[in-house]
Symmetry: C3
Subunit: 324 residues, 3 copies
């Protein structure tokens, strides 16, 4: 068997499992396509019938998330049918029953699976086992990958900074456990960001060898100095403990993005966060709601990116002649 590839024989995107290995041109093309789905201010969201007749299975292991809503709206605004399913696929991994669940939906003519699961490998496993005409899109996989988040982050930077080559970008917080950080690392490396920094307490820094092109900082002040982009990560209680930080207040004192600390970055630096934010923990409210924050624009861009990805994989299927 060939090693798994998320591209088809012609090298076109079929699944979206990871940004790892994606070329600069492929990414820029996706970002360009995403821009088409951004309504000029004051307009209704862009809607097309491009995916009329297509069925999307939105499989999430949690009842309701922003990413689920984003994919649901992306699909519907392209005219697709979206079937929401709250299934813990990985709890079914015993034997082959995850595949049975997927094959059942495939047999009902589901064309695209959007999968959020906590178990590493589930999305690729599904992608390896679907019909040729079916696509699988990751909506977040364990701590490993969140490719549509990486793309929406890149789109946001492109919007505000016009490019990537001259930028200093800092990813700050619990980098070790973050799928957002991993996808960001991949997309920013591919795009040739000028300087990429990961900024974290030692205990929350990825293992040596991971993210080799990033400069490592164990102080937030040094890490964000002269940055163009400060991307904050969500932190969880148990990770603070792991980093010997007793509570949220202490985390904020040592690692929170405050207005004062933001003063160390470039005057026109933008502040990003994948959400949901912990106010007064990893980020001060006055920063999250301040003039440099582009957090809400990231959410808007998320719908656009997901529309672009859906249109791309179905368009590529049509190019292959897989008309099922």
């Amino acid at each position: 068997m060939l090693p798994f590839s998320q591209y088809d024989a012609a090298g076109r995107l079929r699944h979206l499992i990871t940004l790892d290995g994606m070329s600069r041109d492929q990414i820029l093309e996706l970002l360009e396509r995403s821009r088409h789905y951004l309504a000029p201010n004051g307009a209704m969201p862009i809607r097309t019938r491009a995916l009329e007749g297509i069925t999307i299975g939105n499989i999430f292991n949690e009842p309701s998330t922003r990413t689920r809503s984003s994919f649901e709206l992306a699909g519907r605004r392209l005219g697709a049918d979206v079937l929401n399913l709250e299934i813990q696929l990985s709890s079914r991994v015993k034997g082959e029953t995850v595949i049975d669940t997927i094959q059942t939906l495939e047999s009902m003519a589901v064309d695209v699976f959007v999968i959020r699961d906590a178990e590493p490998g589930v999305t690729q496993f599904v992608a390896e086992n679907v019909y040729d005409h079916v696509s699988v899109l990751s909506a977040g996989e364990a701590h490993l990958s969140h490719p549509t988040q990486g793309l929406l982050d890149a789109l946001t930077i492109l919007q505000y900074k016009g490019g990537f080559r001259d930028l200093v970008v800092a990813v700050v917080g619990d980098v070790k456990h973050s799928r957002v950080a991993r996808s960001a690392y991949q997309v920013f490396s591919a795009l040739g960001v000028g300087e990429l920094r990961i900024v974290a307490p030692d205990a929350l820094m990825p293992n040596a060898g991971e993210m080799p092109q990033a400069a490592r900082f164990s102080s937030i002040e040094e890490g964000i100095a002269h940055c163009d982009v400060v991307m904050m990560l969500r932190v969880q209680k148990e990770r603070m403990t792991q980093a010997s930080i007793p509570d949220s207040a202490e985390y904020h004192a040592r690692w929170g993005l405050t207005k004062i600390r933001l003063g160390l970055a470039r005057p026109d630096a933008i502040v990003m966060h994948p959400g949901p934010i912990n106010r007064e923990v990893e980020i001060a409210s006055e920063v999250a709601d301040g003039p440099r924050s582009v957090i809400r624009e990231q959410v808007t861009n998320g719908v656009a990116v997901r529309m672009a990805i859906l249109e791309t994989v179905i368009g590529n299927r049509r190019l292959r002649g897989d008309h099922r």
Copy 2:
């Protein structure tokens, strides 16, 4: 900051948080508009594309309610996209995270929020914090307000009685804890109902000073005598206890609407209930299912009223030129 208003600068309805302070003309115009959405008997439900391109976020703190279904169908029959979200907003009220949740959905181009929450103030709080082009509709707020219920109750009375001025209307049961009763009081006062009565055991009567225009009765027999409209309220076990009524049977004996008691009202009196009914508790089955009951018509009117409200707030937005 200006005090909160649910009207825009031109005085047109933008949010629907309460019926308190709404004028007779405003209410009658909404009822008139609601009538357009009532199919003549034998016809399919009225459907339009008036809200095509509009996204409604249906945020309920409970898995499945009649009101959620009513709003969902109202939105879809106008051509809108409806996103169902089961979120306990009030449990997020710590810090500002309720706003973060709302802003995230706003950033995905949700145009209207329909909110059911158990915490007083949440719907207004949301309305105070959304973009200018966004509307917030209460689907029931704590014990305080259930404005679409009040409107559907008024529409039902208009349908069966042709007006309000000459009517005697009794609201019977646990008035103290009822958002339905409060919205009914507000709408009936504004419409100038001839005589408005609240009829309840002492322990379930609102505090002195509340509902000043209503006459108070502590006997159901006296309260419903010669009434044109008897509106029963749902009672809960713990409220009976509070009123020193040991059980449902005893509540029924003392406060249930039986056929005999209904004989005290006018011969053409109608019986209303917001549902779900407790049979043989606050209402006898032979009354609920009898010829004077308009309980099912209330449900039908509920969809029409919600269609009218949705069309109104979006129409008013278009008049303001908030085309987002």
Copy 3:
């Protein structure tokens, strides 16, 4: 009151509660109609607007099932609005509140109820209490009935075998507790299957007198010998215990469909299973995934059958002039 009938005065299908008593011609007509909804290989699923303006209430007592998804997609691909409701109707059966729930939805102009419930009699009870223009479709009722499953099983056999008269069909496993087996028995009897066998451990065999036209086998080897169709049933842990079979491995050893056992059937025998399958319990993976398995085709046929049923009951309503 007339005894309940799922047919209207003209003898046309109005509800689908059971296949019991359905004639060969009625069944064949439904199967013929189902074929219209099977896309030729390589095509998009068939979509029409035949049910535009129709609202389907999908009431399931479980969060997410294949049957729910199948009915949801069937309804949407016909242009209907589908309202998903997770309600345990039977837990409401006290008093008449199951009817109150249904009547509330009826009053919102729900036209068709699709009901899955664990309590025997609930679907018929609902069907006896709805408006003349409303239809009720069973999506699985206790251990008694699963009529759309029976129809999809028949459609699958028709597809692969071209008819029924000359076939030997074996239904194997926990026949006693299976609604799938009961609906299969009814449909195969009506269609005049050549020889119908039920094959089960004694403790899982239906009571004497039930399924009188089926031959009984207490050995799987004898039961599937020379069969054209082997229909396996899902087995549950507690049923094994009831049959004095200690565990899944032992069940597989005694009652599992293995490749070797399948060798006893006709060389062109097909293998069916309603899903979800228990791999290496009632069926070996090499059989479930093997060339004789038509399990996935059954799922595809399920959507087609449900589209045909929905179109039929609404079509019959139009013929009656019940235009609501």
